[in-house]
């Protein structure tokens, strides 16, 4: 029945969104080979259940439209309601501030100080003392605010910027 084809597509999409959200964020701008395996394997397994033995073009088109519609609805709800956006994406998390690690956050998101230092090195920061604040963004990237910005601001008198 057509309703089951659409229901399967919608369920598959929603379930994958939940799975990816629960599996958690990993730091980095690019997918690691480890994450490639996860994404492709999850996608492939979901496809088996969504399509089943019914491989017609009509089914494919209705399922693609269903997934697109689900995505649009989630995007709209995310834009409209702040709480929904937090549920869907999470919030940015401070990993380090004022030379203090947020150990609870690091433990929960499975991030080590090495991961933070890896990103810091890319910005030319030599050691952890050069970091003012490290933030894990909701899209998985670690943002570093270097402490030298503060130092430069202090060393430059206000008149020098004019």
């Amino acid at each position: 029945m057509a309703i089951f084809i659409i229901a399967r597509a919608a369920f598959g999409y929603m379930f994958l969104v939940l799975m990816v959200r629960v599996v958690g964020r990993r730091p980095g701008k690019q997918l690691t080979p480890f994450e490639f395996v996860l994404i492709f394997y999850l996608g492939g397994l979901t496809l088996t259940g969504m399509v089943g033995s019914e491989g017609s073009l009509t089914n494919a088109i209705t399922q693609i439209i269903t997934v697109a519609l689900c995505h649009y609805v989630l995007s709209y709800l995310r834009f409209r309601f702040t709480t929904f956006a937090k549920i869907l994406d999470g919030t940015p998390l401070v990993l380090m501030e004022k030379s203090t690690w947020r150990t609870e956050t690091l433990k929960r998101v499975n991030i080590q100080d090495d991961d933070v230092m890896h990103v810091a090195r890319q910005q030319g920061i030599k050691d952890l003392s050069g970091i003012k604040t490290a933030v894990l963004e909701s899209f998985g990237e670690i943002t570093i605010v270097p402490s030298r910005v503060d130092e430069e601001e202090k060393s430059d008198p206000p008149s020098s910027s004019q």
Binding site: M1, V22, G24, S53, G90, P92, L93, V94, V135
Partner: protein
């Protein structure tokens, strides 16, 4: 006059260490608690699956017989949609009459549970009220007949199997998605 399509910038993002981060640790702690429940639920689902609560396992296997044990049926009390399985009929020598076994199988098994193939092939298949009556030639007993099932839709389906002159076996199968 203010432009209706623009708004002045309001510094609304919560700050941490003077930086607008937008962290909501209270929400995040609730989410982490939810994640722990979800991971626990995933483990429970896998354990249930291994035990056969969703079919194809120890819990789903079932066996039933007529009171005189002329017919015994091995089947899955929980089936999975679009997944093949086998229902086996074990016939006792007492169910053989004139070197024939006559067995009635209801439409619940033929249509709803998707009977695809019956092995061995019956000598005669005759349409009856509410099902099909199969007649098998028998040279030696006990005899086994296998019916390959592949239910298409989830739901709860009742079936009836009966040999000539014996009490029927009535059972219900749950088909999960």
């Amino acid at each position: 006059m203010p432009d209706p399509e623009t708004n002045p910038v309001v510094d609304s993002v919560p700050k941490v260490n003077e930086i607008a981060v937008g962290e909501d640790l209270a929400f995040q702690r609730k989410w982490w608690r939810f994640e722990r429940i979800i991971w626990l639920l995933f483990v429970v689902i896998l354990v249930c699956d291994l035990l056969g609560l969703f079919g194809r396992g120890w819990f789903s296997k079932a066996k039933c017989s007529t009171p005189d044990h002329a017919l015994t049926v091995d089947y899955q009390r929980i089936e999975r949609a679009s997944t093949p399985s086998t229902l086996t009929l074990h016939f006792d020598p007492s169910s053989v009459q004139d070197r024939h076994i006559v067995v009635f199988v209801s439409n619940g098994l033929i249509k709803s549970l998707g009977a695809r193939r019956i092995s061995p092939q019956p000598a005669i298949s005759a349409l009856s009220e509410g099902g099909v009556t199969y007649t098998f030639d028998v040279r030696s007993a006990p005899t086994i007949v296998e019916i390959r099932l592949q239910p298409q839709m989830p739901g709860e389906y009742a079936f009836r199997i009966q040999t000539a002159g014996n009490a029927p076996i009535r059972r219900t199968v749950l088909v999960v998605p």
